[in-house]
């Protein structure tokens, strides 16, 4: 039997559907397996249908899986909503007291969840533990792995409520016994022992918080919004511990402008929001670009337009992120592909913001914010943090000291904050003893920051500001090609779909197709050389995106005249590897 299974739990939120799934994923991971989760959220605050899916494998998991191998239904509605996603010949687990499924192409295990909880354990709210016990008995992981997690998770409430803890353990036990004794195993899914590995288990937003802390973020201001709120909440808790300050602002405009205030003070600052809040930040993002202030803006994309579907996934803010605000405003746009990127790329985002003195927009998305992955612990290592170069001190004028000769402004009485340089990067400074003051402004200005409307000045300043993007493109890492060197079909993607695309590439290659993929994480400035080479190395380029208009495809068209085959999904749910595979087969 292969050591992999994808289990989906469907139920009512509040019933423990999600918490049960969380425990299962964590238990499997701690037992030594790779995990990758996908979940939906109910429309109501309390109650409402939801589901939790976890793919458990002894190999690295890169997508949520095409289908569920095992579907556990905690009520009838869960069956109706999810049965179509159960693979042919998969396993259905349900409680006969809820409903009886009309037979289909699946193996069924009827289990009296409700009775076991109500009658045997005599505490109905242990139903999700009953479910976990049954899962353990039928597919693994072993009960110990699960009890460990439950104990650690409930350790706090245990003190307050020791009986509950006992009952939970009892429920796990009873259910596990029930299935091993009463249900002859008729399916092929059985997780065997694997050796332990040093991994951490967390979701995208948690990794973003870790990244911000690693990057020495010293100020966060935000305004609550789904699915970005827990970044704010994480930093509200952690920043004071490391000497950073936090502000819940009155709105997103106050959040981003206060971030610019902190940045002017030399503090590495960020905000995190989603579409509606990001839209409100437009004007300030343009200001940051003009005044050349570092700032990191996380946009946890959700399904739009407008208020849209706050709890659904979409990759539809790229075009807006590339052109946010009026005028020609250089900015850096990055998009993490997975939980590891949420950490690593976040630190890089702060470094880029500081080095290139411009806003960096970090395009996460709803599926990634909630996706729990097991990641090698080594990924979360210390990363070099590029401090801002202060060289605006008396005598120390000119950009030389940050390695870029200032073409003008040496020996001046005023500080040439916006000196023209070959790299476009000008010397900078912050308020502190001995610093030479300057005034940041959104007006066009001369090298000293003084307002200036002369055509020559505006032209030169526009070129200087955009020169920083050229410098960045040279200095920043190129994306690595994945797949066949002699591929005829190329796939270019962005954001949280990388793993899914790579899995599809592998499956296509196994079927004999010649395929390769490129997945730029920096979307502004684009890694021109790498992309040009890739495009020219293949016959057809497929650009799969979870949006309507093909936003990356548009960018590639604008930049390289590429006429790609656009594969767009826009129902609020991520691609499966199978869907990408089908697209590959179709163009072949």
């Amino acid at each position: 039997m292969e050591n992999e299974v994808t289990i989906r739990i469907g139920g009512e939120s509040g019933e423990g559907t999600i918490s049960g799934g969380d425990i299962l994923a964590l238990a499997a991971a701690r037992w030594g397996y790779h995990v990758y989760t996908f979940r939906t959220f109910p429309a109501e605050i309390l109650g409402g249908p939801c589901m939790f899916q976890v793919r458990i494998s002894d190999k690295h998991v890169r997508s949520m899986g095409d289908h569920a191998d095992v579907l556990i239904c905690l009520n009838k509605e869960a069956f109706d909503r999810n049965i179509s996603d159960l693979r042919h010949g998969g396993v259905l687990v349900y409680d006969p007291s809820d409903f009886t499924p009309d037979s289909g192409d699946f193996i069924t295990y009827p289990i009296p969840f409700n009775d076991l909880a109500r009658k045997e354990v005599q505490l109905f709210q242990t139903k999700n533990m009953v479910m976990l016990g049954a899962i353990s008995g039928l597919f693994g992981p072993p009960l110990e792995a699960i009890t460990q997690v439950v104990e650690s998770k409930l350790s706090r409430s245990r003190k307050s409520n020791p009986i509950l803890m006992e009952k939970n353990m009892l429920a796990l036990d009873i259910a596990q016994k029930y299935v091993t004794e009463q249900l002859p195993k008729r399916d092929a899914y059985q997780l065997g022992p694997v050796e332990k590995a040093d991994r951490v288990v967390l979701n995208g937003n948690q990794a973003v918080v870790a990244g911000a802390l690693m990057a020495h973020c010293g100020y966060f201001a935000g305004y609550p919004i789904t699915p970005a709120s827990d970044i704010m909440e994480g930093l509200a808790k952690e920043l004071p511990k490391v000497g950073g300050t936090f502000l819940q602002a009155e709105d997103e405009i106050a959040a981003i402008t206060s971030v610019l205030g902190a940045s002017f003070g030399g503090i590495r600052a960020m905000t995190a929001t989603s579409g509606p809040g990001f839209s409100l930040m437009s004007e300030a993002i343009g200001y940051a670009s003009m005044a050349e202030l570092p700032a990191v803006i996380v946009d946890a994309q959700r399904a739009g337009p407008s208020t849209g579907m706050p709890t659904k996934m979409e990759q539809s803010d790229l075009s807006f992120a590339l052109y946010t605000s009026h005028g020609d405003t250089p900015r850096i746009v990055v998009a993490p592909a997975d939980v590891a990127d949420c950490y690593t790329l976040m630190v890089q985002a702060f470094n880029m913001a500081e080095r290139y003195q411009m806003p960096v927009i970090f395009l996460s998305d709803q599926s990634l914010t909630a996706r729990v992955e097991s990641v090698d612990r080594s990924v979360f290592k210390p990363i070099h943090v590029e401090e801002r170069i202060h060289n605006g001190h008396n005598g120390a004028n000119g950009a030389a000291s940050n390695g870029h000769a200032a073409s003008v402004g040496e020996e001046e009485h005023a500080f040439a904050r916006y000196a023209y340089t070959a790299s476009g990067i000008s010397p900078t400074t912050v308020p502190e003893p001995g610093a030479m003051p300057y005034v940041a402004t959104g007006l066009e200005h001369d090298i000293y920051g003084h307002p200036n409307y002369e055509p020559e000045d505006h032209t030169a300043m526009m070129e200087k500001r955009f020169r920083k993007l050229i410098t960045a493109a040279d200095e920043l890492p190129n994306p690595q090609r994945y797949g066949d060197i002699d591929a005829t079909i190329g796939i270019i993607g962005w954001g949280s779909t990388e793993g899914t695309i790579q899995e599809a590439v592998d499956r296509a290659r196994a079927k004999g197709y010649k395929v390769a993929a490129l997945h730029p994480k920096i979307l502004s400035p684009l890694p021109d050389r790498a992309i040009r080479e890739f495009i020219h190395s293949v016959k057809t380029v497929i650009v799969p995106e979870c949006n309507y208009s093909g936003q990356l495809a548009n960018l590639l068209g604008a930049k390289y005249g590429l006429q790609a085959i656009r594969v767009n999904k826009f129902g609020g749910i991520p691609f499966t590897a199978g869907e990408i595979l089908r697209a590959i087969e179709e163009v072949s």
Binding site: D198, V200, V201, L202, Q206, A210, L213, M214, H216, Y219, A221, E238, P240, K241, V242, G243, G244, T245, F246, L247, A249, E250, D251, I253, A254, A255, T257, S258, V259, L260, G261, A262, F264, G265, G266, I267, A269, E283, A284, Y287, R377, F380, K381, P382, N394, H413, P431, E432, P433, G434, A435, M436, P437, Y438, V439, A440, T441, G442, H450, P451
Partner: protein, 280 residues
Amino acid sequence: MSQTLILTPKDYKSEVKPTWCPGCGDFGVLNALYNSLAVMKLAPDQTVVVSGIGCSSRFPHFVQTFGFHSLHGRALPVAQGLKMSRPDLTVVAVGGDGDMFSIGAGHLIHAALRNIDITVVVMDNETYGLTKGQTSPTSPTGHKTKSTPYGLLASQFNPIATALSLNVSYVARGFSSKPKELATLIEQGIQHKGFSFIHVLSPCPTFYNTMDAWKTTVSTMPVDHDTHNRFKAMELSMETQKPYIGLFYQEERQTMDETTHQLMQQSSSFDINKYMAQYA
């Protein structure tokens, strides 16, 4: 430039010459600020003047300290973010009635509730100067302008009354033609620990010349006014026909910046390995 130097008002004059019209009230406010800064010997390299957009918001360019000429209406959030993260700096926010009371009105409310230790100086000319004379929230009802050819139909905003209702911890009014008194109010405001709100009558001779009117109507605060009596202060603030100048109200209470930094007393540097243990 360092704190030990003796600084005179003109040391705070920048090389950029004001673009204001002759007779603009903002000149008086600028000079008042030069004086306050000099008297307090504030280090130019550790002082930041933040503004929004407007004639009055050009201010930072004319002051030889750090400056942040931000966006229309956003001086207060910028100043708060700066002060929260850099409590060692002196932060003064300046702007106009449009900037602070129209597009920026929401931020004023929340700055009041947070009581972060910044000082805001609002140059109120009861009009939008930079955009050539449309009505502002402080324009009088009936005021005829290009945007209100048939007369303004809204009530006139009373900044002092609302500031008091929000329990702003330092509330004062000055007049650009009384720069000495104004300088003192600014000094006290900067010294005050908390959010200091200074409403300055600063006429726009070009688009709405209230200079002569104010010269006659402006009256000095009753000597016996108890500046800890918020109710009394409200009563005085209702007197719009002869606006009082001076200190209306002052109260010392916790500031968000200070309390936040107290929280951080036992903060340590970040250790990613320790931090990740929770996810192992």
